[in-house]
């Protein structure tokens, strides 16, 4: 069985800071995703990547950058953290866009 790992589990940043979240999977899945989860708003797509070095914007891409340098890893950068921001960032991978997704356990972000 494979695993998808997100680091760090908790991230506390300061307003204006650039913050990077990492995600690794060993399923050999082609497609990887970053979602943001706010309380009461479900999951919103930030970026996804269908193969190494590919990047596709989701509905929430403004304020974020992403990088897929290897098939197994997908990183997300918050370019300028917003004060009082609090959310969970979820990484997922799948064989393709409409197959089942495997999610990591999330990175919990708090900006002070």
């Amino acid at each position: 069985g494979g695993i998808i790992t997100q680091t760090p589990k908790f991230l506390i940043g300061q307003e204006g800071q650039k913050l990077t979240l990492k995600c690794q999977q060993n399923f050999n899945h082609d497609t990887m995703y970053w979602y943001r989860q706010d309380s009461g708003k479900g999951l919103r797509l930030i970026y996804y990547s269908i193969t190494e070095n590919d990047l596709q914007k989701g509905d929430l891409s403004e304020g974020y950058d992403a990088s897929r340098e290897k098939k197994s890893s997908f990183s997300l950068t918050v370019t300028s953290a917003q004060k009082n921001e609090m959310a969970v960032f979820l990484c997922a991978s799948s064989i393709q866009g409409n197959s089942d997704y495997t999610f990591g356990s999330g990175t919990r972000l708090l900006v002070i």
Binding site: T31, Y33, Y35, G40, K41, G42, L43, R44, L45, Y48, Q56, G58, D59, L90, A92, Q96, G97, N98, S99, D100, Y101, T102, F103, G104, S105, G106
Partner: protein, 110 residues
């Protein structure tokens, strides 16, 4: 844009009872998926039902799909306390990426 949405924010049942979560969506789809998210964890897929299927079962779970009304339901029979979670439906947007609903919180009490 919210292409899929669960109809209720929260449901409460007692152990052993059945519960049904409903979902409506706005576009044509190739498949609809149901996910469960327990506290502190990422979502986990429960059932994938394709547009040419009307019903799919997985143990105590049963999903239905009605493409004419663009709606789906997920039923859980003989509920257990460990079924307490947020349940999401998700649809693909032409195979691009899954779009998730806002979720329904199901609480199962002893």
């Amino acid at each position: 844009s919210q292409l899929a949405e669960e109809n209720l924010w929260a449901l409460s049942v007692h152990e052993g009872e059945s519960v049904t979560v409903n979902c409506s969506y706005k576009t044509s789809i190739t498949a609809l998926q149901w996910y469960r998210q327990k506290s502190g964890e990422g979502p986990a897929q429960l059932i994938l039902i394709r547009s040419n299927e009307r019903e799919k079962r997985n143990g105590r779970l049963r999903a239905t799909l009605d493409t004419s009304s663009q709606s789906s339901s997920l039923s859980i029979t003989a509920t257990r306390c460990e079924d307490t979670a947020v349940y999401f439906c998700a649809t693909d947007e032409g195979g691009r990426a899954l779009i998730f609903g806002t979720g329904t919180t199901v609480s199962v009490s002893p």
